[in-house]
């Protein structure tokens, strides 16, 4: 188990470099958008990774509420944090792509808006975790995660209808993707998933360690005043 971490880390690094090479050089250049389209590989794979992490967060939260298992709570805390990280990448690369292609930084397009709302919900989740008093954090965070997950389809429908009413000013991405591009995208996604898993793993270990330290500290701390007396 101890060996697995560096081995997996090395593997991820190789995969990431290969994916980077494929995205920047290997993939064919898109006809209308040109080189800028290459942002796509990072943008989309980050987005999918983030959504997957949020899904994991939701499942872990349900498991926590059902079983009161502190490991599930640690998983939920970690996946929300890393999910927000990847979601931030999506929100930064998105406008960087939109500016040269559409001529605007931001548009209230379906996917963009949904991602932004998700990001807001999970940032509020992280804020809640930080501000709540320690013995209650897990339960109320899990409850908020479930509220957030339930909210997603509603956000989706509301924006979908909002958009059909006022057609967006930009031309959608449209068109089917070249097979070679699909290939590169999937490689990038795989690399990002491995990377996310790696971060989550180390972050999870850190979280567990922190909890252990807190517990030992709690049980030991009271020894000190006794020594003084």
């Amino acid at each position: 188990m101890k060996r697995a971490f560096p081995v997996f880390g090395l593997l991820t690094l190789v995969l990431l470099s290969f994916a980077l090479y494929e995205a920047l050089i290997g993939a064919p250049t898109e006809r209308t958008m040109g080189e800028v389209q290459r942002i796509f590989y990072y943008h989309v794979s980050s987005a999918w990774t983030a959504f997957l992490l949020f899904l994991t967060n939701f499942i872990a939260s349900v498991v926590y509420l059902a079983k009161k298992n502190s490991k599930a709570d640690a998983v939920a805390a970690v996946t929300a944090e890393v999910g927000v990280l990847f979601c931030s990448v999506v929100l930064v690369t998105g406008p960087l792509w939109a500016r040269p292609v559409w001529g605007i930084w931001w548009t209230w397009d379906m996917r963009l808006t949904l991602t932004l709302v998700l990001w807001l919900i999970y940032v509020s989740y992280l804020v809640l975790r930080r501000f709540s008093t320690s013995s209650q954090t897990a339960v109320i965070a899990a409850a908020l995660s479930i509220f957030g997950a339930v909210d997603v389809p509603l956000v989706y429908f509301s924006i979908w209808y909002f958009r059909t009413q006022h057609p967006s000013p930009v031309i959608g991405r449209g068109g089917s993707l070249d097979a070679r591009m699909w290939h590169v995208l999937l490689i990038n996604w795989a690399a990002f998933l491995c990377f996310a898993f790696l971060i989550c793993w180390s972050r999870y270990r850190l979280e567990r360690l922190r909890r252990d330290v807190e517990e030992t500290q709690a049980l030991e701390a009271l020894l000190e005043p006794r020594g003084v007396r």
Partner: protein, 41 residues
């Protein structure tokens, strides 16, 4: 072209900042464990 590089740079800046932050927390924790061990002994 500049947007392309900006996006890739931004992605890695965000990731590396986060990793650095995790590392910082880890080191702080390590120090705490060290002090805890010392206190128990």
């Amino acid at each position: 072209m500049i947007y392309l590089y900006a996006a890739y740079a931004a992605t890695w800046t965000i990731h590396i900042t986060y990793l650095a932050w995790v590392l910082l927390r880890y080191r702080r924790l390590r120090r705490e464990i060290y002090e805890l061990r010392k206190a128990v002994r």
